[in-house]
Symmetry: C2
Subunit: 700 residues, 2 copies
């Protein structure tokens, strides 16, 4: 789907245009005119003859031509009527600015549905309702009440908050940022973030995509599209609402670790989207992407006229994991010739507080000439003798001579450095209000470069017994049994190549003993019930049973006590299981996020998982590299590696477990949740064992 | 010591005053004159008759009176000469602006020592060298080259970086922040951060102390002074250089966790100092402390005209652990009457994007009237109809009517909100460039309030055998043995009330068996050598020996193998020890930071400590509350509490262990490092046991 008519409209009707200043219908019309729109503008308002010197129409029909774009600003309850007119006239693109729909409750939701139905039948695309509108500087189109037309530039912006867009426009203006398109998606009754993302991805004027989102409708489709686009255009998003969303997270015990915000983190990571935690950081990052080259490496050199500022930048560089550039001997020698004796010739290069423009120019030139330097950060504090404007010009000059190196500046101050900052921005040198903000931007850019150059994702497919799994899941769904218990969960896992302990179920103590003899002592007894998730809590697990007597005692106690605690639980028997004694306990899991899809989880196993919360997440399907990275991202990983004489475990084989589980949940979207806990991994050469497991399924 | 003469000087001589613009000697004189200094200014320069219309003197003597303050700006090598003149004339306070001393290497360091010697003999106090100077707005004293005299205000500033001070002055000016005193301490050859801290603490014009420090000379004294002052005046410090300092950290295995930056964190926490991670955040926080009341509680309400901004603020509030205010029913009812139907009446209160000043005024008035609200954050985005200036005035008005509540604002934007922000600042409403920055400030203020209202610190003193410990330490120091091995470390711990496993040392296998029989099997064998810190790594530990045969085998293997691995280690024998089998392993430790003093450590024990790095630190001596807090600050604590049916351990008794250790290291400053690892803690009612321990001592 294309948003062609929204972006390149040559005729725009404004239904609800108003003469009264301060009214939205007035602001939108004023903005349209003030922007110098080259096409035709048709104000529609039955009560007026002309508004702002333009002929006013009683309704859409009386215009006598089909406007490319209609903006609706009438009261909510009249919107369906106007939509019917649109349908009748043959309009195909509509912006509904009017608020008071889904966001105000049930009545509003009904009204919105009514509007969408009219649109669907007539093949009309709607932006909104509750949209601030659309702005396209190159088309002089300001179909919004967002204020003045911004400068044309490389950034396409998607916003789920109209009001916030006004602030972003104002901040962007001061930072010298220009836009290709701005789209306020409002309630997303029809056009949503995915549609706009696709449109901006295909738009040749858009080099960078930025946005503010509160939720994503279809995480899976969004990931795929964003991943494709990110390779060519950086995507920088603010995603708010993470904490309240977290509260709505699933209550099941491992699920509670995977708040929805975690899911969005995974989506962003997979798709190479740069997450911005505030409008300020978004503007900070965007500035650099829009005006500077992507860095070739991660090595940063700092030039400063204040030792303190240099130290702060150095702290930030080291903390963020960037490389603190080591200047070559040649560079140091060159600097020694041109800088005063008290200057610091090593990174951070301190040109001293009395440095004028020439000294900055010389130092930056020498430093950028060094092969060890990919990025230069120039700091300035305004001493009495400092000339910020001249220094800004010097920076611009040298940066232009080194177009393959990233150059950023931070002039610490406000009034005294104002002109210098303005000159920097005009000269396409991004400017930051603190060394820390500049370094955060460098970090984001180097991360993006690394993401772009990662190897192609190849998801390995294992030979599995898919049919067997399908049968078990189907059976459960038919019976309305949404929890798959330990025994059948393990059958499913076996079908996907997991090893499980030797086990069988017993319904009498004698049977339990006979199974135990076959397996060999010691054994474990576990209550078998689809209704009991946390068996340990109710005394439903007994470990290390070494003799027939112990097995009989445990069996009888369990079958006596558990039903007393949980009288409603349907108890199918008792599982007698091989005792897996050696190895580290980890957990493999999956929790399907309603917006973002299957979230794989890895972490420390046993009861520790809840205490230490040392877990990592990633979206399925996983590549081998991603599975390994999930391990590396936990501290648990440090305990799996050989430590102090202890043998390490086979990392590759745990990663393979994650890949197999990822294949399972990808092939069976009915699976909503899986826990393999503990997954016992022994030293290298041994096979890990899924000692306990459970799953939850749903009809999809 | 008082800095009286620096702050209230009535006559100032400038040695090295210059006619040449751009020279420091010129800038300082110009600043002195421009500030409207009411006292006398004596330029000293043998080559000039007058400078800037002031009579110029050939030297200090020819002035004919003793200046209260002398500023020296002559080249470094001439400074000793001028100092001798100062001594001769009877000057008592000198600022040395000249650079080129300690910071440029050995020669400079010698020169600095020379200067200090002259000063000491003559009873002269020096600020600097390499100082930007001193600024006291109420005295119209600008004895610096920091530019224009700032406004008078409540903030006293200490800076270790002169150049950075220039930036801070410039930013402060734009934020409407005024100063009582600004002191650039430079190389701290004499006057240091502690002297200035004391002076500002005693200064009635200073309500808030802020500063930028790269190191603290005497952490212990600084903590005591800062703790005393913090109760009356908030102290906000930037401490830079944390990462490179971290690299210099001790290499011993637990010491490596306690980088110097951790030590500073502990100093700051103990003393109630608010750590600022950038100049920006320091200005952000300072604004609020200077202009607003301290909050009575932690409950924050948000008022916004943009839903998106409100969500971002809510995220920040929840993430920072503040309370998201629940508005009373009465408040919601009142809001319902005055706000439009589509407005959100619950926190965050959304007054909608077309809100004018009256609506903001009404909403803020109602919200601040609510007993559940301690703090209000007012957000604004500039829509076409928004009137930022009027809204700013409304906020000021209502805030003044509620002097006991903290009110902050964030007008998102730049150009369109500029006037509004100016009005807010003039009206003493702190303004932030993002909701996140405002919330960070609220967090810092509530933390400070909590610190101030913490109970009085009472350090319990246990009855111990101090003499015994003294004897052991003295013996080691006499012998130049700085490592105290396991056996004697345990004797020391016993003297301070710790339980240790039954143990004795053996020099033959037979002796080991006989000891094992007395203790009872199973036992542990450990190599005993002052030269072996990590016994496990060299096969010097054997656990769970169940019989005389196993003990003999272990003894012989150990005494055969260990010397082969470490031929130079002095092996004193083998320790035969009771096997402590049940309980959780934790670590208690101490590492004495050269600047900040004894850093207590608590964390997960065994080899896990290095892997999980789940440790907490606090400065000794510890109160019972602080010791408990050290436990709570780790994730390990979650495993010590009762979890899923397992019994918890006695938290109080572990805390007591930390307190006892804290007493030991406080009473014996010779102890540089202690590790009790593992400290095995059983279920409630049992006594924890120090299973292994080592210490390092030094002559002090």
């Amino acid at each position: 789907m294309s948003l062609e008519k929204f972006f390149n409209a040559q005729s725009v009707a404004i239904v609800g245009a108003s003469r009264k200043k301060g009214k939205v219908g007035h602001e939108v019309l004023s903005n349209m005119i003030a922007a110098g729109f080259k096409g035709k503008i048709f104000p529609v308002n039955p009560k007026a003859q002309t508004i702002k010197g333009l002929k006013c129409y009683a309704d859409l029909e009386s215009i006598g031509q089909i406007p490319d774009l209609v903006i609706i600003i009438v009261p909510a309850k009249l919107v369906p009527l106007v939509m019917q007119q649109c349908a009748k006239v043959g309009v195909k693109s509509v912006i509904i600015v009017t608020a008071g729909f889904r966001e105000v409750g049930k009545e509003g939701r009904k009204l919105e549905q009514q509007v969408v139905q009219i649109a669907k039948r007539a093949g009309i695309r709607i932006l909104g309702p509750n949209s601030l509108g659309v702005i396209v500087p190159t088309n002089n189109l300001n179909a919004s009440f967002g204020g003045q037309l911004p400068e044309a530039g490389a950034i396409g912006y998607i916003s789920q908050s109209g009001a916030l867009l006004a602030a972003i426009l104002d901040i962007a203006k001061a930072s010298g940022i220009g836009f290709s398109k701005l789209v306020s998606i409002g309630n997303k009754a029809d056009v949503d973030e995915l549609d706009v993302l696709k449109a901006l991805g295909a738009d040749p004027d858009t080099k960078i995509i930025a946005g503010y989102l509160e939720n994503i409708n279809d995480g899976d489709a969004f990931v795929r599209e964003a991943e494709r686009i990110s390779h060519r255009k950086p995507i920088l998003l603010i995603k708010s609402g993470g904490t309240s969303a977290g509260a709505r997270a699933a209550s099941s015990h491992t699920g509670s670790l995977a708040g929805s915000d975690t899911a969005y983190e995974c989506v962003f990571e997979r798709a190479g989207i740069i997450r911005c935690d505030s409008v300020k950081s978004q503007v900070d990052y965007t500035q650099a992407f829009a005006n500077q080259p992507l860095p070739k490496g991660t090595s940063v050199a700092v030039i400063t006229n204040a030792g303190g500022a240099g130290i702060m930048a150095s702290d930030a560089i080291e903390r963020s994991g960037l490389t603190f550039a080591k200047l070559s001997d040649e560079t140091v020698d060159k600097l020694a010739v041109g800088l005063p004796p008290a200057a610091s010739l090593h990174n951070p290069v301190d040109v001293l507080c009395d440095a004028l423009a020439e000294r900055y120019e010389f130092a930056l030139d020498v430093v950028l000439d060094d092969h060890n330097v990919d990025i230069a950060l120039v700091l300035l504090t305004p001493q009495a003798m400092t000339q910020p404007a001249d220094i800004a010009k010097a920076i611009i000059k040298i940066a232009r001579q080194n177009p393959e190196k990233l150059v950023l500046a931070c002039f610490l101050g406000v009034g005294k450095v104002e002109e210098g900052i303005r000159i920097l921005r005009e000269g396409k040198i991004p400017h930051y209000d603190s060394p820390e903000a500049a370094v955060a931007t460098i970090k984001v850019m180097t991360d993006y470069v690394r993401w772009r150059s990662r190897p192609k994702r190849v998801v390995k497919l294992f030979a599995v017994n898919r049919r067997k799994v399908g049968t078990i899941i189907e059976k459960h769904l038919r019976q309305g049994a949404y929890e798959i218990g330990e025994a059948e969960s393990k059958v499913i896992l076996q079908a996907y190549g997991f090893a499980t302990p030797k086990a069988a179920s017993a319904s009498t103590a004698e049977q339990a003993v006979s199974i135990a003899r076959q397996i060999g002592f010691p054994v474990v007894l576990k209550i078998w019930s689809p209704d009991i998730l946390h068996k340990t809590d109710v005394g439903g697990v007994k470990l290390g049973l070494n003799s027939p007597e112990e097995v009989m005692d445990a069996f009888d106690l369990m079958t006596y006590r558990v039903p007393k605690k949980l009288p409603d639980a349907n108890i199918l028997g008792v599982l007698v299981q091989e005792m897996v004694r050696t190895g580290r306990e980890v957990i493999l899991g999956m929790n399907r996020d309603p917006h973002c899809g299957p979230l794989m989880m890895f972490g420390m196993g046993g009861t520790m998982v809840e205490v230490l919360k040392d877990v990592s997440f990633y979206l399925a399907p996983l590549t081998a590299g991603e599975a390994k990275q999930m391990l590396v991202n936990t501290k648990t990983y440090q305990m799996l590696k050989p430590v102090r004489g202890q043998k390490g475990v086979d990392i590759g084989i745990i990663a393979e477990g994650l890949q197999r589980l990822s294949q399972l949940v990808t092939e069976f979207p009915q699976i909503q949740e899986v826990d393999i806990n503990p997954y016992v991994v022994g030293p290298e050469g041994t096979t890990p064992i899924a000692v306990d497991a459970r799953m939850r399924v749903e009809q999809v």
